[in-house]
Symmetry: C2
Subunit: 282 residues, 2 copies
């Protein structure tokens, strides 16, 4: 599992690095970013995974979210993968901004031609953690996950499909009920085919209804002026209703005047990192 | 002086906006970013001008520096212009990344074909402040300036050439002695011609030697692993020697392991905004 370092920049006393590797799950080269806080120089740290939204690479979060100060203070290694395989020469992979490249939706595709490469679910939950645990000073037992929009969807389903794997989960403007929203219908029909039962296995609102697991403290921030909320792409109300019914605690904060941008994320990122640090450093 | 709003995003309770206008000085359309902190809703705030470095637009600083939290807390309106005129159809304007587009060097060009458009000094010190004072809730008497690299050079010369105009000045990795460094020689010979006395009028190290002005508290952060420092583009030692001789107080902090990137700026931006707030809110 050879890693090639692409960049390394000092930031808030730690190091923001980007690496490239040949992904076995995705059958292509993948980049990921990893932040090593000062504490990582002298011991193992918890690992916090960030999943980005549509059209993003590993760069958007590390350059725009302003997360480094709190990650440095709380001593968290923060990992941010790319949002899909790239350069797979699949016909149509670059045709839309909400499907294919930059839009892997954190699922394992079952349909041709996507199934050979589009396995972001297994990449994020299996291959990447194994790579991180093997190459960086992280404690494999202390892992949490969060994300934005499509990445918020990814964080929620990874946590709900793996009870106990993550200490905590949070999301910014997550796609909460993809089986019912335009983005989700387009992605799931393309990657998973027409059998909607396969869709539900990657839908947070459905997963909550049958969540058998342990305590899961979910934090969600949502901008009230988020165009995609108004367009019915995110559907947080459905998710909250399902959590309420199942008595799963979720803190949902509707933020007046905020939108879907990284300005919204930057404003509340410290709260989210504090949320995770509470569990990761417990 | 019609302003066209390009974008507006809520961030740390304030609004990060970008506007476009027809610049009289530069004879072209120019964009600038302005952050209005929550305090700007109820009263006039001080104005802090940021000047960016080579290849930047108004976007780099507002999306990568993480300045919003401290600007919001200290109640400062922060303005970030672009780094040169654009789209002027001057032969060669886009040929190099360190001259022409994205590289206006904050001077008023005297040479053809640049002198018609390349008047960034007057734009930054006259036209933009007049525009800001006329259109935003700012106190014209309370203004400070800071910048990075070429923008650090810009901030230093604007302050040194206008004693009393700015309450404070600071810089990240500034080009301190452009008449002696490759970037400066290329830019000044192109914009100002071969008469080196004209160059010195835009060189911070020379300007300090004849600075008649009032108290000026200068803060400079410089990454010790900054490739451009090692390449002799920045020359801070010359500037510090000149300040020492003239007994002008300058705090110069050499930061171990840091480079020229926005990760370096993000790490110390709060210190700089606090530095300015001390004088602007005095």
């Amino acid at each position: 599992m050879a890693l090639k370092q692409i960049s390394s920049n000092k930031c808030f006393g730690g190091l923001q690095k980007v690496f490239e590797h040949d992904s076995v799950e995705l059958n292509c080269k993948m980049k990921f970013a990893v932040y090593l806080p000062p504490k990582a120089e002298t011991g193992k740290c918890p690992a916090l995974y960030w999943l980005s939204g549509l059209t993003c690479t590993e760069q958007n979060f590390i350059s725009k979210s302003g997360y480094h100060q709190s990650a440095s203070e709380h001593g968290l290694v923060v990992i941010a993968p790319d949002t899909s395989p790239r350069g797979c020469n699949i016909k149509g992979e670059d045709e839309s901004w909400d499907f294919g490249t930059g839009a892997g939706f954190y699922v394992d595709a079952t349909e041709d031609p996507w199934k050979t490469n589009y396995r972001m679910y297994s990449y994020v939950t299996e291959e990447l953690p194994q790579l991180i645990n093997a190459n960086f000073p992280v404690d494999p037992q202390r892992m949490s996950i969060f994300g934005h929009s499509m990445g918020g969807h990814g964080a929620l389903i990874c946590a709900l499909k793996n009870p106990g794997k993550y200490k905590s989960v949070s999301a910014f403007a997550p796609i909460c009920n993809p089986v019912l929203c335009p983005w989700g219908k387009k992605a799931f029909s393309g990657y998973l085919g027409t059998d909607q039962s396969k869709w539900k296995a990657y839908d947070a609102t459905h997963l909550v209804k049958s969540y058998p697991g342990s305590q899961l403290d979910i934090l969600i921030d949502q901008g009230k002026d988020d165009q995609f909320l108004l367009d019915g792409q995110l559907l947080p109300d459905n998710f909250i209703a399902a959590c309420t019914e199942k008595k799963i605690p979720v803190v949902f904060r509707l933020q007046e005047g905020y939108d879907h941008s990284y300005y919204f994320i930057a404003t509340f990122i410290t709260d989210h990192i504090r949320h995770h640090a509470k569990y990761l450093n417990a």
